[in-house]
């Protein structure tokens, strides 16, 4: 197989039905979101946090994988890096989704009320960090860090399509090295700000890692889903084979196990020490029906995809990959729901409020991806590692 034979990118625009589906979901989602905000702004606000943190997971997770691919010199994933580069564009809707949350801030974040803080010693001592101004400043900093690196990575990668300049890969490797520690700090603080502070008395030092691992699992699941879906319909290049699929499957399997490890560690340490200032958070999630949600997360975020992917042949099957990716995406929504909603309601609630943001998020993912795919190559044709990635063999 010569180099020229294999790098054929036959189609560019996504299948019309997928694009249509994306737009339909986005529109339906938007209608439901507006309806939610009109009928019950507080409940809509909490759901907004779910949708917002979910999309942030996909966007930031995608940028993380771009950086990891550069810094690790990974080869097998190079042909698919564009998928990640497209998904990173979700940072734009992420910022948009933050706006309604800021507008409803007081009904969502308990610690933002001056009188509550004045009467609460614990919140008083946390207030140098937990105050609205600093919260907003931090959010801007996170977004700047993420988008800055994202746009430079992307710029270099897209430019390389035309000029084949290998120095651009070198540049991105250096940037990736700088980005990863910044990402580790920023995403941890981001999850502390937006999710952990919903329960401002509670703290867990593992929370940042918990959200981070959930995010990268989700970003990888979305990527896997797109890759399998598109390559089944003849996108990318000829010669995508079980070696590539296996790599997706193995990485997904490894990361979901890592998530389980972190989730269990966070639970076990709190359960073991059994300190009242920590354990109430889990107790809330183990009563009034929340226990079913908790068990569902353990099943859908870990055991079910774990057994689906555990054997070597199953990691190579496109169908299994797609199914387990879809389960993991849904499980991450459930996870965000489980993190956020117990603050809103003592027992699980489910209605159009809760489906509005998932529908919108999925719609946005498809639309953003489709818009990008229309403009740019689906494969980084100028990347020096591309041919090796296509010929990749386990």
């Amino acid at each position: 197989m010569s180099a020229h034979e294999s790098i054929i990118i036959p189609k560019k625009e996504l299948p019309a039905n997928i694009v249509k589906l994306g737009w339909a979901l986005t529109v339906i989602g938007l209608v439901l979101v507006v309806l939610s905000y009109v009928t019950d702004a507080q409940r809509a606000g909490f759901n907004n946090i779910i949708g917002f943190t979910f999309l942030a997971s996909v966007a930031v997770g995608a940028v993380f994988f771009i950086a990891i691919e550069y810094i690790a010199g990974a080869v097998w994933s190079t042909p698919f890096r564009r998928v990640l580069e497209f998904l990173g564009m979700l940072l734009v809707p992420v910022v948009l989704l933050a706006i309604p949350i800021f507008l409803n801030f007081h009904s969502l974040y308990h610690w933002s009320h001056a009188d509550v803080v004045a009467a609460d010693k614990v919140l008083q001592s946390k207030s140098p960090y937990l105050n609205e101004q600093f919260f907003a400043i931090r959010f801007v900093i996170y977004i700047v860090i993420w988008s800055l690196f994202y746009f430079i990575f992307r710029h270099n990668s897209l430019k390389q399509d035309k000029d084949n300049d290998q120095a651009r890969t070198k540049k991105n490797i250096g940037l990736a090295a700088a980005f990863i520690p910044l990402l580790a700090i920023s995403i941890s603080l981001f999850s502390i700000d937006w999710l952990m502070s919903l329960e401002p008395h509670w703290f867990s030092t593992m929370f940042g890692v918990y959200y981070f691992t959930g995010s990268i699992v989700t970003a990888l699941a979305v990527t896997t889903y797109f890759v399998v879906l598109l390559s089944e319909r003849g996108y990318f290049f000829k010669g995508i084979n079980e070696n590539h699929y296996y790599s997706f499957g193995a990485l997904l399997f490894g990361l979901l196990s890592f998530w389980a490890y972190i989730a269990f560690s966070q639970f076990m340490l709190i359960w073991y020490a059994n300190l009242p200032e920590e354990n109430f958070w889990f107790i809330t999630r183990w009563q009034n029906g929340w226990e079913y949600v908790s068990v569902a997360i353990v099943l859908f975020h870990f055991w079910i995809p774990y057994f689906m992917l555990v054997s070597r042949p199953s990691k190579m099957k496109p169908r299994v990959l797609k199914q387990s990716a879809a389960i993991l995406i849904a499980a991450h929504f459930l996870d965000m729901y489980w993190l956020v909603m117990p603050t809103y309601s003592a027992s699980p609630v489910f209605s159009y409020y809760e489906i509005a943001f998932p529908i919108l998020s999925i719609g946005l993912i498809i639309v953003v991806f489709a818009m990008q795919a229309k403009k740019y190559n689906l494969v980084p044709v100028g990347d020096p590692k591309l041919q090796r990635g296509i010929d990749f063999h386990l």
């Binding site: 269990f264 639970f267 076990m268 059994n274 386990l394």
Partner: protein
């Protein structure tokens, strides 16, 4: 000794040729052949027609044994063998077993996989191979690629094989070996090998014993024991009275302990009236009483409470427990005697738990009845 033909080999100078040669050998139907290359070549497995390895099943089995074994062991220790309340949690607190279960599963999976690989696939301890130290091996571990078709393959025919390898463009040669230096028999049970294993086991155990029981107690390795803390029976400069061991706060009662209200001076039969035996004379209670009576009372009072001590005059013989006095005592009086003692008989309240003391009382009652049976008992 005469040399035997091991295989016909061929050397190639680039990886594409070896893949093509492997496919040709596979297609010709040979089973016993191998490829040697200086570095891993992708796609060779397929070209050689190798099946997926079965090693994964060993890993799976070992992991399942490890996980199941560890969770059962941890549960047994925590619930049956040494039940202890830790942090107010139930005995069977499974989340605490998860880390160790996981680790043992991984450990056994790894050891099982490596062990199976070495024993079954590498045929350890057979450490020599006809290809060792041949010009062929020298080349393929430097910059050449080689295939070697074994003479014991069912389809082997020297002329045909030479022809086949020549056609694939290889530089054909033959590998011979001498049986004097080489055996294909498994040497797992070779006495020399077993002896070596035993020797290693002994040396490791002895080293471990010395390290954990001796070396760690020598300075400077004993630093863990040199801590600025108050040890039992030592002085403390911190407290004004200089005692290192502190008395519990006044009124402290140990878990499950019910203080005994009567002192040594109290008369057995008068306080005995106020103590009620909580145990029914069930079989379980009598068995317990019998066991404890034999352990604690019989050395002085005799197996049947007749006062025939086994102490051979080293201790004043106690009176019989079948006297009218003791028989007419309330249960509580015997309980009181065991608890606080009587004259030369010491107190047993710290050796024998409350319940066990009542069980002994029940047992003594049975003994008394046996020696003074009523007419009706005999019917």
């Amino acid at each position: 000794m005469e040399k035997k033909l091991y295989s016909i080999s061929a050397i190639y100078s680039n990886p594409n040729d070896i893949i093509r040669a492997a496919a040709a050998v596979r297609d010709a139907g040979y089973k016993k052949f191998d490829i040697h290359t200086p570095y891993p070549i992708h796609g060779l497995d397929g070209a050689m027609g190798l099946k997926e390895t079965k090693l994964g099943f060993v890993t799976l089995a070992a992991a399942i044994i490890g996980a199941a074994g560890m969770i059962s062991f941890a549960s047994w220790v925590a619930v049956v063998d040494y039940p202890q309340v830790i942090g107010g949690k139930p005995y069977w607190s499974w989340p605490a077993f998860v880390p160790v279960t996981y680790e043992i599963a991984v450990l056994l999976a790894v050891l099982g996989t490596v062990g199976a690989m070495i024993a079954f696939f590498f045929k350890f301890p057979n450490i020599s191979h006809p290809l060792h130290d041949t010009p062929y091996m020298k080349k393929v571990s430097a910059d050449k690629f080689g295939v070697s078709i074994q003479a014991d393959d069912g389809k082997f025919n020297e002329k045909v094989v030479r022809e086949l390898l020549k056609n694939t463009g290889g530089e054909v040669d033959a590998v011979y070996y001498s049986e004097e230096f080489l055996t294909f028999k498994p040497q797992m049970f070779d006495p020399k090998f077993i002896f070596l294993l035993v020797g290693i086991a002994l040396a490791t155990s002895a080293g471990g014993y010395l390290y954990w029981n001796k070396v760690l107690y020598l300075p400077p390795f004993d630093w863990m024991m040199q801590q600025p803390k108050v040890k039992p029976q030592t002085m403390s400069e911190f407290y004004a009275d200089g005692f290192g061991m502190r008395l519990p706060v006044a009124g402290t009662v140990a878990r499950g302990f019910i203080p005994y209200p009567y002192a040594l001076g109290a008369k057995a039969d008068s306080v005995g009236k106020f103590l009620v035996n909580p145990l029914l004379p069930t079989k379980a209670a009598l068995d317990l009483g019998k066991k404890k009576f034999f352990t604690y009372c019989s050395p002085c009072h005799g197996n049947f409470g007749k006062g025939d001590s086994r102490m051979n005059g080293q201790f004043p013989n106690p009176p019989t427990l079948h006297s009218d006095k003791v028989r007419t005592w309330p249960d509580g009086a015997i309980f009181h005697t065991i608890t606080v003692g009587q004259n030369v008989m010491p107190s047993y309240q710290y050796q024998i738990s409350r319940e066990e003391r009542w069980a002994i009382v029940n047992y003594i009652r049975t003994l008394q009845r046996a020696y003074n049976a009523k007419e009706s008992d005999l019917q």
